[in-house]
Symmetry: D2
Subunit: 416 residues, 4 copies
């Protein structure tokens, strides 16, 4: 392992908790080079919703490469991009009655967020943005400024401004009405709050500790934005692509955000790709006003097209995620209830699940215990106090049970 330690920066993190060298992967499983299998309840932090190297996508990808399909095409027109746009329109937008123009903002989720913020500011002529406590939107300067984690914010080396954090759903355990404070500030011309161009929100905060907003809170947020002429940006980078059940995580709430950020699993195979979907009338950009090198990676379009058509042409996957997600949730609840003195909480929705522990140390130990038992899961939350589960949506029933069992044992081993 010495080359990693010798050459890679101290900033590396996941490798610290999982100190093996991975080699192969299939479905829900990662294998270390000595052949040990690991049940992957992390799934690339949500970038592998259809599991590792899904056979259908794999074959399409190999065929495309084999045939010398264009690989890299900036924002030129390509057959691969056309196929993807058609699939997006037919499979996702039209059936849901959604009208969006598509921006290819760059290869990653942070690019999708940066493009969204830029556009919102350009359109409104306002600089301020409202974000939420424990939000995570990315590591580039614009995305970082709307991210909550103080360690990550500190890395910026400059004061992060133009964003004001507001309490996320149930930040005060429901003791106070939703948007109480925000609405008061917006309506009071003497409040000192800079008038916001946009509000950016995750429907479930993954990095923030698997905090799932209620649909009524999301609806109220959408109404508030409309009332105050604020653009609503849903960052669906981690929770989109079916993570919570429906393709878009905001579908259950019945809202239509002005701007939607997608990435992670949009290519379906782990290849970098991102989208910023914008309300058609917001498409006021000059040609090239936002650009970038990696906006036309055709292999990602190819796997993305196949993923959309294969998994989202009907509601099979959505129903499966809801059902298995519920089973997973119940499993976690049982674990929580088995340790009544440990003040655990089962959290989440669909296949974005977690157990909140008393502190980050405990959660870390549980993840370590799970790793020893062959399951990959990670901590999240401001103090790393939540063991976070983001398994592939394609998890089998057996793998659900297997995962629950390992987690049960790991928790028991740590809390014993």
């Amino acid at each position: 392992m010495s080359i990693f330690e010798a050459l890679e920066s101290q900033v590396r993190s996941y490798s610290r908790g999982w100190p093996v060298v991975f080699n192969r992967a299939q479905g829900s499983w990662l294998y270390s080079e000595d052949g040990k299998p690991y049940l992957d309840y992390f799934a690339g932090a949500g970038a592998l919703n259809y599991g590792h190297n899904h056979p259908l996508l794999k074959q399409a990808l190999i065929d495309y490469i084999q045939n010398d399909g264009v690989t890299h095409a900036l924002d030129m027109y390509t057959v691969a991009k056309r196929d993807f746009l058609e699939a997006l329109d037919e499979v996702l937008l039209k059936p849901r009655g959604l009208e969006y123009k598509v921006v290819f903002p760059g290869p990653g989720g942070a690019n999708a967020v940066e493009a969204a913020l830029k556009l919102a500011r350009k359109i409104t002529g306002k600089e301020a943005v409202i974000n939420f406590t424990n939000a995570f939107h990315g590591m580039t300067l614009g995305a970082l400024s709307v991210t909550g984690n103080s360690m990550k914010r500190g890395g910026a080396g400059i004061p992060l401004v133009h964003a004001t954090p507001m309490p996320y759903d149930r930040y005060f355990d429901g003791d106070y009405p939703d948007f109480f404070y925000l609405e008061r500030l917006l309506e009071d011309s003497g409040s000192g709050l800079n008038e916001p161009a946009a509000i950016i929100v995750e429907t479930v905060q993954g990095e923030g500790g698997i905090n799932a907003a209620r649909v009524e809170w999301l609806r109220a947020l959408s109404d508030l934005c409309k009332k105050h002429d604020i653009l609503l940006i849903v960052d669906d980078v981690q929770m989109g692509c079916g993570r919570t059940g429906p393709f878009f995580s905001f579908e259950d709430a019945g809202i239509k955000p002005d701007i939607v950020c997608l990435s992670k699993s949009i290519s379906g195979y782990g290849i970098p790709m991102a989208l910023t979907l914008i309300r058609p009338d917001l498409d006021v950009w000059e040609p090239g006003e936002h650009n970038g090198t990696f906006r036309g990676i055709s292999p990602a379009f190819v796997t993305g097209t196949h993923a959309l058509r294969n998994f989202w042409s009907d509601d099979t996957l959505e129903k499966s995620v809801r059902a298995k997600g519920e089973r997973l949730g119940n499993g976690l609840t049982e674990i929580v209830e088995a340790h009544p003195d440990a003040s655990l909480t089962a959290k989440g929705k669909g296949f974005a699940r977690g157990i909140e522990f008393a502190d980050g140390d405990t959660a870390g130990k549980v993840c370590a215990a799970a790793f020893e038992r062959g399951l990959l899961m990670e901590t999240s939350g401001p103090d790393g106090e939540v063991a976070k589960l983001l398994p592939p949506l394609t998890l089998t029933d057996a793998e659900v049970e297997q995962g629950i069992e390992i987690i049960r044992e790991s928790v028991a081993a740590v809390l014993r």
Copy 2:
């Protein structure tokens, strides 16, 4: 073409100059879906230095995918990453006497720049950065703030601060000593210049109009940084990976930057990947202080490893680029000299070449004329007045001549 117009944002740009739908690609050639070949003198804006779908890289990539190698691995340890780090160390760093720690900052060049700026600020405790006139470093907020183009800057929607532009090499056509103004400001405690954490520079400005800094200017810049305790960041995203001849574009100057940004052709196949190389003693990051989803794309490591070992284990490619680049440069000079009244200028170095026209309109027409003749090249420069050539480094002698000939005809057709 209607799906593109119907669904893709107005922000699209390259597709406007090249209104065909591309399908296949091989070596120096792109093919539209109706089978028309285009000689690619743009090469993914520098992301395809080894041409399209290089057979050796293609085979390695297919093998990797076929064998279910891990595709997406965050920053876990993988065999693919280990192989890449070893190649990087053996082929690039050691032979050049360079000592760097490697940061995987995210999938694109802007991520490499953002990580570089963050680190420079964190280390020095200073916020200000010096950039250069007509610099281009990316579209995310941190990278955009050190970029020159006013249209792109305007897209930010917030004032871009913390950066002060200084004149790039020969910005005043050599009438004034290098760094005259900057040194005076740095030495004058009353100058009002915020003390800079870092200076960020491209050795050849691609987007800025193919402005190649002289090696003595780069050396003087490096000396100035050392003298004033300023970190020197070389953004080698476009000019690295052999674009100007040597792997690192700063090798000819004999300098050792504190931080180097790489992306575009580092994966060798057009798959998103980026690196930030940092002086070992600058590696002060906390684990996870900078992170991101797409920092461990194994297919990019695989093609990157093969590209390094295949093209950079000896100096064959470097010599070839120097030689063919000179031929290309001479070809452009001949074209320039054939139009003595048109005030043209041949610019550039290695395989980063250009012709500066009187205005952007003329340059645009020349590019359009070339497109009609089956050659892809684009404009750059503040007013789009430079026709920019970034052909694959693997261009054959015949393709060099073919390109020169098409450009010659295109220029003649427009200036006639």
Copy 3:
């Protein structure tokens, strides 16, 4: 009046509500040039706490000028400054057990605030500051950034950053615990709140609409600051110098702020002067690091010294303000109760009083009606909905009754 309209900027404001030309002034009375007296319930927005041209101060001032005492002395040592510092120490600080170093920050309240913010940031190395809804701290860029009024903020022409507004006492009518939101944000490392250098607060918000914080709220605020290592800045520019009863408005709460801003009535005669009082261990400034031309106006020191010794050597004035302030408050309450359907509220403390009307239009009409009846008072609050009373502390009992009577009539005339 034409020279005013012809030459003075549209930015003028008070002259719009009181369109007469004033000439002379004595005690609680201003006289227009045609000899009409006006009972001054505005007192220079709190700059004339001892009334206009108090005979004792006037004589001291004339004597000083007559004897060619130094008028302007930058920050040199002068006899006048020495006398002032001695009086400050003997009359104010020592008897109250307060230890402060004195900064002469410039001539006005905004200078006192700017100096306070600069010092707090320098000491802590943090940029962020917490301010409160409807705060007013001044019109210079630093002071404006912690001010709430959106119209005034808009005048800055740049985004005002580095400050986050928090709810002032009873912003939610007592429905929520004090500092509920702020404490949660401070304790949550993922909240996204930039760690604050300081909290700046007025004990009674004058411009904000005569909002008087409860002493228990102020105490809790002080405790919170201590607990989280945040500097507490009390802006006593308008509420200090006895406006609420005691010299420092925070005395009733029994707290000791880290930094105190004074101005307005500190010179006692309306001559510009300001002080920033700082905890001795915070005195880390370099000589001249904060300076300015008008920091040593001896006439202000002279009247200031006499004001301190005459009015604050015992508790006569303090008791009088408390008693008459209560009478004034009761008078306002009677007026409010006489109009049960008009949803009026009597507000304030000491001689900082007000009536809140349903809207700014009504409050403006009441002030206009009072002006017609020979009483000066102004509106405040985010929508100008509060008629604000800041009479001289030296108001006689008869003038209290006279004022109440005019206000009663004016309210009746408007609400009839």
Copy 4:
């Protein structure tokens, strides 16, 4: 002197060089409390252009106070303000063909600058401002951001942004054309310079080291501003009111700035007062959008009115300042020439004069030697290397000679 040391902040500065306690003052003389006279070649840093306690102004002031004229009047209409506006119009503006609306921005020069910057940004919708190397404009956040001195900038505790420093006249000793760099940046859409709302300039930099811009440079600056639609702000706080000869320091250049800042000697007696003069069509402020407590100090209006009418109704004072200023300049040149090996430089214009020494230490010693000999002068410049002379404009011929003689002796004593 213990009360000063015990109670006053370390930030005090002038008192360190002149460690005596001053008491009385008349004309060009300050007296310490033990009766020692000091010839004042500092004149309140330019706030006492008519000397200390000028008899005519003194009598007018005493009369006004004696008669209970309004002292403090916010921005109400007063007889004192009317008289002042009339004098300003009749004596200053009309005869010079200048049309300005008058803003009373607050009590000091920094307020005048803050108002100017706010207005320029509001009007243009741009945030950026160009300032000059070694500029000094004040200590509040807006004014400080356009000030050069790094020690003073460091006091801000936040990054000072939105301003870019450009080289002042002869910053490179005339080796380079004026505005060479600035014009190039403005004309190059890729330069990375944020488009400026305004350029702020002193015609002679006092704090910056008595750098007097040539009239042709000022004219070129004015032309450049017109050409590029940039507002020109002349900060005449220190150099206005006759300091360089004419009332406005820019008169010799024949330019008409869009905005002019005045303070220091505008009241004529050392009482705080400031003006921002704005081109009539720039008067777009909302009532009260910029306000403040100390904008209507009638004693300052009274002495200001008398100063304008007495000193500026004809050109007697202007001619005298030019003549005596030349004599003073010649005297300094003789001193400089008497020390050919010490690399001294005589600098300045009118009664803004200085000698530049090899370093700040020498200049400081010369000022100390002058103090011992009964003359007050101070250092300026980025390293305090310039002994700065700002004597009263009313200096007698004898006092000119006396000053020169003391300076001659002091220089000789230090350089011996």
